[in-house]
């Protein structure tokens, strides 16, 4: 029997959590930022993504990253949250 390879934790929830912490944003605020730029997932789904309980599709992750980066732009920081092409 072949052993299953250990699952590699996705860096995406960690990236979102780090940004949330720095921006002091609630999950609901992150969801609003995501919806603003084009996302159409529910708040409940975003909670699962943020908790690492569901894989975040590339397109949705880019909406989340853009929404967070827009908040960083307001603080004078240039897009610190990586997009899907850079996070794998």
């Amino acid at each position: 029997m072949t052993a299953m390879p250990a699952a590699t934790p996705s860096p995406r929830p960690a990236a979102i959590s780090a940004a949330r912490q720095e921006l002091a944003m609630t999950v609901q605020e992150v969801w609003l930022a995501y919806i603003t730029v084009g996302g159409d997932g529910t708040l409940a789904l975003l909670r699962r993504w943020v908790a690492g309980n569901a894989a975040i599709p590339d397109r949705d992750y880019d909406f989340i990253a853009q929404g967070l980066n827009d908040h960083f732009v307001e603080r004078g920081q240039n897009h610190p949250v990586a997009y899907s092409a850079d996070t794998g």
């Binding site: 609003l32 730029v37 880019d62």
Partner: protein, 240 residues
């Protein structure tokens, strides 16, 4: 007609319309109403989690209240924290005798001339959502039967607080969604313009173009989109 403090306070709490006041004002009114039911109470404060998940006395009838409570939060022990954690009333009849159980809190309370306190758990839907502290300048400010009244008022107050929180969270979400939809309409319009200019471009590719411009210019996506909708050219690069 309600005449005694207990009836007056219960009547005021049960008749609360949470939409009439903002969340902060509702909480303050709850603290005031509860405090008025106890003649010996000099002030009242409500401890709840703040937006960063830290316990804080954010609502008070006197600015001394958060100063006194700070001793609890820094040390992690105090009557208000115990009332919240254990979901029961904690009464201190003589602050000079509380220095063993709550040295930090008792020390600061005595410095402020507080000699007795009553801490009430705020429980809504079976969950502790905070605690209400009442402070008296005299020893034995809150007699033993005050605990029953306190619990009765705290139960009513907790329902008001939970309703107010739910109401204002819904209002806040509604306002946030309204703003989000305004920005999103601009962004979708810009994507449509880009797609019309290049028939091979789909919505995802149009978003990527906007995103790259946002990153390149360090400008919010909505502002890039607005520029496209307004048919304004991008700003000239320095030195060109």
């Amino acid at each position: 007609m309600a005449t005694d403090p207990r009836s007056a306070a219960l009547s005021a709490l049960s008749g609360f319309l949470v939409s009439e006041l903002g969340l902060g004002d509702t909480l303050l009114r709850v603290a005031e109403v509860t405090s008025q039911a106890f003649p010996a109470a000099r002030m009242a404060g409500i401890a709840m989690l703040d937006e960063y998940g830290q316990v804080r006395t954010g609502i008070y009838t006197d600015p001394e209240s958060p100063e006194i409570d700070s001793g609890q939060y820094e040390s992690g022990r105090g009557p208000c924290l115990d009332a919240w954690r254990l979901a029961r009333t904690v009464r201190i009849d003589d602050m000079t005798e509380a220095t063993a159980d709550y040295p930090e809190f008792a020390g600061i309370a005595l410095d402020h001339g507080i000699l007795s306190t009553l801490s009430l758990p705020l429980i809504a839907g079976g969950e502790g959502i905070g605690a209400l502290n009442l402070y008296s300048a005299g020893k034995h400010g809150f007699p033993e039967d005050a605990e029953d009244l306190g619990l009765e008022l705290a139960a009513a107050a907790a329902v008001v607080l939970a309703n107010a929180h739910a109401y204002w969270a819904a209002v806040e979400l509604g306002e946030g969604l309204s703003e989000a939809m305004k920005s999103r309409a601009i962004i979708e319009q810009a994507k449509g313009i880009l797609m019309a200019r290049s028939p091979d471009m789909d919505a995802d590719a149009a978003f990527d173009l906007l995103r790259q411009a946002s990153q390149r210019e360090n400008v919010k996506l909505r502002d890039i989109a607005q520029r496209i909708v307004d048919r304004r050219p991008p700003p000239a690069e320095p030195g060109r």
